[in-house]
Point group: C2
Chain length 134, copies 2
Amino acid sequence: MAQLKVTPGRPYLKDNSDAPGDVSAIIGITGDTEGSLSITFSADSIKEVVSRMLGEEVMEINDDVKDAVGELANIISGDARRELEEKGLRLQGSIPTVVAGPRHEIKHIGKGPTIAIPFETDAGPVTVEVCFNR
Amino acid sequence: MAQLKVTPGRPYLKDNSDAPGDVSAIIGITGDTEGSLSITFSADSIKEVVSRMLGEEVMEINDDVKDAVGELANIISGDARRELEEKGLRLQGSIPTVVAGPRHEIKHIGKGPTIAIPFETDAGPVTVEVCFNR
């Protein structure tokens, strides 16, 4: 949608203070296990992504930007859940919740570790995080 | 747990820019409908709440504070889901995700309105928000 070049980086176990961002979307996961998934952008990277999606320059973190981040989280969550379903794990996803605030930090409160997957894009860095109870 | 006097205020339909806070926990809801629930504190109010819970003064938004906010969200989500289950609505809750960042704003991306329930406590204001797809 945004005609972005996206390069996945090496996943790592997240320490709580890693990967602050300016706009995030969070989706809760339930089903065969409980978890949560987040996607976090810097303000610059999400403004660039949404500018390309809409074909006009986005200057601030407005409702269009928040809705786009929620939609991107839905797409990622849906793809991941379909892949896990093929492996026998049935999961449901909640609606997204979008958080906007400069340099916020996210902590997933699950029994398992939080895995962070960094992506480099030509609009800037993006981080996807997932955590499950088991 | 925190021996707080809590006074619920009048629920209202949330406009997106309402109710910024410094520490929030978000829980995704799935089942007969999808939704999300959040609880948002100011930094001062959550430090006071957790200081009372732990019996020692908490000076910063550390891991103890984040875990406590997640646990409070679990309790509220569990109580609400039990009440809705008595009315025939079966819902599951995800693990909590905690967001810490000064003056962040939350937007729930569901098809229905977001209902905000403000609470006054002697530690400061707290806001609970819920949104469902239907």
